[in-house]
Symmetry: D2
Subunit: 454 residues, 4 copies
């Protein structure tokens, strides 16, 4: 295709290293879509006739059908998806195929293809996120009356609603969704017409191309256009952060499904057994959710390293953008629906959670009780701390210390003290926006449903 000035064949091992068809064939739909639009633009610029345009457009559609049907036969000379499509087009429509590349470079072509691919991907991924958010919402609504221990530092902290815990993941995913939306505005910029780096010399109408291909706008600078991979980096970052969120959910569910916590049971459909130990039921789905963050972060790092210190304009190093992109897309495509399935089928053991609440988790409420009786918080905190220590020394629960003992610690304690040791009441006190009070959580779920429906 570019061999005119060369007097020697490529070394075989180099040809393998150089070729990208083994992974970039996935861009075929985007590539052919871009080429059809380009054929139309060539005709508009009178660089080809309308008949030639139709021959190209029809031929491209036939190539696409071969790919769709799985009958496309790659040749050893097909360096990448672009040359593969052009080669096959030539076989189907003859010499006119040689006009398709007029004024176009693989540099602007591949950038266009990849952007079309990422735009599609973002839409799919947003759908998968919404699906997982729906699973979270459904489960949260079903289990609205379940109390569980809330943890900080993995130590029991304060009673919360199970739904409140679960809904925390809704909002993480909501930010992921928003980041993808923002990313899409930067993906939706047409590079086609930038040529190799200097722009198109043949009067191609780039605005027409943008409209044809659904881009929001055209790129402002042809050098930037052919070497900008920011949109992939930004996508990979969004993917890495989704990965981090799923890894945290993975950790929580692995912990909660341990025998020691016993808060939840994964459905058999999402667990596996052991080849050696017959009793084992392992939460593999969520361990993978935790572990997959590794490759997603690795994919992001791969691309950032490629970009670092690269001379401006197109360099072949940029071919290394695609595999991390595809890997991240495939990883999330496979993972998100599984996590949604885990949530939908999760068995929640309200009794175990309830049993894990202990009186010491109301120590803050005890301090608040003193605050309401005029003790400065810092002082109240210290006194309740002493009560905790006293109870621990005596080997009894905080609720079982006598009123007299409490009065020794702070004279403000009185008979109303016993009302403090009521988990539901403690929860009910936290009704400010975003709190774990039942009303606040219901309102939270309401807001979430509104967002999902948009």
């Amino acid at each position: 295709m570019w061999g005119g000035r060369f007097s020697k064949q490529m070394d075989d091992r180099f040809a393998y290293l150089n070729a990208s068809l083994r992974f970039d064939w996935r861009l075929y739909a985007a590539d052919i879509r871009g080429s059809r639009a380009y054929a139309r633009a060539l005709a508009r610029a009178h660089l080809i006739s309308e008949m030639e345009r139709d021959a190209l457009v029809d031929g491209l559609t036939r190539v696409e059908q071969e790919f769709d049907a799985g009958t496309f036969a790659a040749q050893p000379s097909d360096e990448d998806i672009h040359t593969a499509v052009e080669r096959r087009l030539g076989e189907l429509v003859g010499a006119v195929a040689g006009k398709l590349h007029t004024g176009r470079s693989r540099n602007d072509q591949v950038a266009t293809d990849t952007r079309l691919f990422v735009l599609d991907t973002i839409r799919n991924l947003q759908f998968a996120i919404r699906n997982l958010q729906s699973a979270i919402l459904e489960k949260s609504e079903q289990q609205l009356d379940v109390l569980m221990p809330g943890y900080t530092h993995l130590q029991r902290a304060q009673p919360i609603l199970f739904s409140h815990w679960l809904m925390a993941y809704f909002w993480m995913l909501e930010r992921d969704h928003a980041r993808l939306r923002d990313c899409a505005t930067r993906v939706s910029v047409l590079p086609l017409g930038a040529g190799a780096l200097a722009g198109n010399a043949l009067g191609i109408d780039r605005d027409f191309l943008a409209r044809e291909l659904g881009f929001a706008r055209v790129s402002d600078n042809s050098i930037d256009a052919v070497s900008d991979r920011d949109f992939i980096a930004e996508f990979l970052f969004a993917a890495a952060l989704i990965g981090a969120h799923l890894s945290r959910l993975g950790e929580d569910l692995v912990l909660y499904s341990s025998a020691e916590f016993g808060f939840v049971t994964l459905d058999d459909a999402y667990a596996t057994g052991s080849s050696l130990m017959p009793q084992k039921k392992n939460p593999d789905a969520m361990e993978l959710a935790r572990g997959k963050a590794g490759r997603l972060i690795g994919d992001l790092m791969s691309l950032l390293v490629v970009l670092k210190g690269l001379p401006s304009s197109y360099n072949k190093d940029l071919q290394e953008d695609k595999e991390p992109l595809f890997d991240a897309v495939d990883t999330l495509d496979a993972l998100l629906p599984v996590v949604a399935g885990v949530i939908r089928t999760l068995r929640v053991h309200a009794d175990k959670m309830r049993a894990a609440l202990d009186a010491a988790m109301l120590a803050t409420d005890l301090a608040d009780y003193l605050v309401r009786r005029g003790v400065p918080f810092r002082d109240a905190h210290r006194r309740v701390g002493e009560a905790v220590k006293l109870a621990e020394t005596r080997g009894i629960a905080l609720a079982d210390l006598s009123l007299d003992a409490y009065k020794t610690i702070a004279p403000e304690f009185d008979a109303a003290l016993k009302d403090v040791f009521d988990f539901a009441r403690a929860l009910a006190a936290r009704e400010t926006v975003g709190g774990t009070g039942p009303g606040a959580v219901r309102a939270q779920i309401g807001r979430a449903k509104g967002i999902i429906k948009e």
Copy 2:
């Protein structure tokens, strides 16, 4: 502060490891601002009197003044900026200081402080980006008539305008600017009132707090609120990508200021010499611009690793968020103005650039010439490739092959051929949007100026 239930002092080495004041003192202004707002909110909720509120607010302002003046004296017991401020406040205003933390946790407090800090930082950074963009614009306008070789694969490709090359960086920075803006919308969410993890039990008005502190909205879920560090990760990603862009500019300018290219000279104010070799003048500023991408990407990596697999809600691991954040901020604060200075003072050697243009860079125009004479592009490309090979074999420039030689290669060649070998004319043909044609570049600069002015 929290020692009521403990019966032993902290181990010294652990105290050092655990403490964060040595780096989080930088949050003092944000911390005090947050505490003043919180004191007002406590009074609105009738948890403290108006007199107590005023005492707290005034005391906090005095603590702030000590920090501003550099007279604040840290104590060994000051675990972090929050305890340091509270301790000092107590010394200044007495027992009422113990009421400030009512219903508040360091978990929601530090999240609030950090968000205030990042919001400020984004504003400063956007300003520094605009400054560098201005430098690029000024230089681009000044040098609008300078032709240079455009490269792909670092091989001479096509003639471009120097301004077109430089403006490519304007658009990279413009995306950086936009990413920071999008990031800010996710930073501007108030965590205060989330308590340790379960929400506020004392009826604090979170909307009031948000208004007081300039947040766009309040967080939806208290568990998420205390452990969400996405905003820092997103900021660090934006910083890493700025770093990648500056590393590419660094690479270009290091190359262009080499003796071999000789296209530009850095001002003496931005270069250094050698301790051994008296003749050396090194482009250290741009080498550092290239190298600093390392730490910026490393900072992002650090935080992503911390987040991976963390149980939900607050865990102490999250204290590891601040040093990468501060490092990234400091790095860009130091680097961006220097790069702007380099650009502003850069000497551009139009003659050297012009001399580096060679006729072979017009091979594409030669192919276009054949295209206009009806030869399909792919065929034209092949024929021009043969001309290139022939010229190379004969050891002469492409422009110096005889018309007869050209005719042997393609009968479509005629006397008009000589007009092709005109760099300015080749440039002028690339006037589509985003192209390197002088008109297109002027229009590009015009759009850029419009953006800057906004």
Copy 3:
């Protein structure tokens, strides 16, 4: 120092960016040690007199004493530790100081200093690792009779000895120790005498320098010598993997000290409380052990990015090697002794661990029982799996299924079945090398002690 050919002062902001004294002062001892050796080498090569050598050596020692005493006064012109020392030396000994740099470049000088620093660091770090290994060994010996559940996938798997669990970390650290040793052989290569990049032109005896400074050998290629930072990358990798190991130990101990597991209690000296919740005791030390892996991995990433795509020989980007190095060193210096302290003071709750053993953890032994009666393992596994399911359905423990029920599942079951449900016996069966049998663990500890003593 290098300003002869320059006609302008450095820009202030660039001077700040360019300068490294604010972090590389830490190399002062190494720098001065290297310079003393170099002065001696200059005298051996007759480039200075013996009197001059003595003046330099004595002057350098005085500069070192100022640093040691904290009285060294840095000047704004001190670009880095090398210029700072040379400037001060000149003030102390006069013009002869100007001879010290003869034939030396900061390029070979800083490489030498950093290698000396890393060699020292490795020794210290190996000592800190040995200290943590000793803590592990002591605790393992003390608690040799404690049974606990062994987990895979965080699900109870098989009974193990607590000491066996803990000793797993001994061997991870042993590999870390070995990696540092291997790394040291690649650090112990002298760059001094490589000059800026081309080697020394004045006949300096590099073997003498190596002996003086304790390097095992001299570098083979001067270009490589001035730009090789592999030894730092290798060190940072070793540090990152130590970080990964400590993060796993952190995770384990955070889990085990949760109320749900309750296996261990951290000493009050290594835990902290909550500013809001008076009852909290948080395992901060081990959360930090888990979180610090982030910065250690980030430090490694930083340097690898700096190295990527760098032209050969010295480039200023390499100045970015030091801060990640120092950060990693400081992190491990602070962390390792704390982790050792946590282990030494850890309270182990044998009763809680014992209570967490359940009969199902002997399912593998049940399968082995069938194997010994001639049932192929895969078949035995399936049958025991059915027993597990049956017991679960009936809501009883595996040990409580009747012999009749067992016989229905596999006729090979007989009265000896009841002997299987004995945790100590199950443990005792695993006495192959590396197994959890008490004898095997004692042997393991014996091997470990042998290693430590070396």
Copy 4:
């Protein structure tokens, strides 16, 4: 295989996510080799008869032959390579196949397989490194008389030999080779016999297994054995650093093959053309060498993230170890021979290199000249710096300043001055070990050849 206790099929999407055969089939040879050894060990322990052993060993060999021949037919139920082999073995040899897994877990099995794979890989990789080192040595010997500019900061610094520049890469690769060797000592530790985590209960002779499989020793702790992935991380680090080295060589050769440098030409067999610009010949092979560092570093990061914070013992997350490993192996397998081919076929333009030497590159020699006449180096450096500035001001070369002008700058200058401006002489002065003097470089090559031959 493990379904006895389960009452439900796996969800299809989870089954896909969970399965690893699509990538771990590559371990088939290692898996079967390990199983043959295990069958022998079972017989030695009298757990199976000799006849059963032979049936298993022969069956396994038949399975291996199917894989070798590409006729192995995977089934949907084949979760991973281990279950695939065991399933097929059962089809071939019947019920006895069910005895193979006696006392073995996939946890110790996969760890063993992977270690066998990495040991093989290291051997292959060391061979590929030696091949590239040979190419470097051959080219260095061929071109021993070629002078070129040596650079620091990409500014011309001092004249060096081309061979000296090239040999710098020999030593980088030599360290890579050594790191792989050190890594191999930590890979060569047998996990088999560790069972799921607690060790083998059936008296398997692990030392026998180690001998059979060629491991240097057996693992010391079964928990560590099943979850140790340090050896992969260490391998990936070694691979990442090889990647960094090749990226630097890539950068150098991309620069040197630019029109501006013109020092070398890549053979047509290792270059490509442009789809748009007929004249282009691009150094794609070396751009890919530069860019591939991204994925190699990304692979390392992936695994480190997976390991971070993982509970001890086996967790499913560890399944994420294989794809980065395979990717790194494939990347280096494809890349190293291509780079060797590039070096072997590289055309070196001695004339262009020579033409790039300029007199200013001898400024250090000029300073040394003054040093030999008693001027302290620092002073000599300053004076030569002034000469450089003077020559630059006058627009002439440093060698063209008159002796009178020199004398004004330093009275020590005399007629011998003209001898300094001789590149070959300057080179010849740098004959200390590792220097660029022709003798030193020949000695360097001699040492390198000795190493290669070992």
